[in-house]
């Protein structure tokens, strides 16, 4: 083997390595490119901060009732309840729900009062992916309580065309 033969071989080897690397990069980049716009945990935190301000959010008191495994993310039954006597002095003022991976982190915000009797709200929501849902309750004394639920979605909402 002469040195002249060595060079093309090295180039071929490098070519192969580079092609493989490029294919790998494309393989990684492609799923990212087709992935629809989604909220990130950071944007969810920002949306939560917008609601609670600088106040600390405690864990507890709130209960999220949502099926752990969902076939169709287009209509997911969700019930959020909060322990509270619901009197004029001590009641739940508002409940906010956030989703981590939806295109927009906000899901629903409701305002309650002592006339609500019970701090329980149900609705049906859309989920774009398997993700974490966070519910935050604002009490009449200004404190915030939260809880979270993990949900697995088989068929995601808002991906299909019209």
């Amino acid at each position: 083997m002469t040195r002249d033969d060595d060079m093309p071989q090295a180039t071929r080897r490098r070519f192969l390595i580079e092609t493989a690397a490029l294919a790998g990069a494309v393989g990684i980049a492609l799923p990212l490119a087709v992935k629809p716009a989604s909220a990130t945990p950071a944007s969810m935190r920002a949306a939560i901060r917008k609601v609670v301000g600088e106040a600390p959010v405690n864990k507890g008191k709130v209960k999220i009732d949502v099926p752990p495994l969902i076939e169709n993310g287009n209509a997911v039954p969700l019930t959020v309840s909060c322990e509270s006597p619901m009197t004029a002095d001590d009641h739940v003022k508002a409940i906010h729900v956030f989703a981590e991976k939806n295109p927009q982190p906000n899901v629903v915000s409701v305002q309650l009062g002592p006339r609500s009797g019970r701090a329980t709200v149900s609705t049906r929501i859309r989920l774009a992916d398997s993700q974490k849902i966070i519910a935050i309750a604002q009490m009449s004394d200004g404190s915030f309580w939260s809880n979270e639920a993990e949900v697995i979605v088989t068929l995601a909402a808002c991906l299909e065309g019209v």
Binding site: P36, A37, N74, A75, V76, T79, A99, N102, P103, Q104, N106, V107, V108, S109, V110, Q111, L112, G113, R115, S116, G117, R118, T120, V121, S122, T123, R124, I125, R126, L127, A157, C158, E160, G161, V162
Partner: protein, 106 residues
Amino acid sequence: MARALINAPAKAKRGEIIEIKTLISHNMETGFRPDNTGKPVPRDIITDFICKYNGQEIFRAELFPAIAANPFLTFSTIATESGTLSFEWTGDNGFSATESVNITVE
């Protein structure tokens, strides 16, 4: 006018906690779905819901695109006096709908 369904007891005892269920027909277009040309379909959702008991607000909800089509909301209130429960939905593109039911409190 969108079709709305209200499920609330017609009669209640004073001080009883009653459950109110509301449903309204609306496709809640999220604004994130692409159409045939790849452009997103403009957002068209109900953004606000208010329930009043004899004119006094008892429940308010702010809705986002993450609410499923035909928004369904369940909440509760204390039956204080006979009267009317009125419901109001407002949304994008000037959407507005109202509905009311009567309640007798004994």
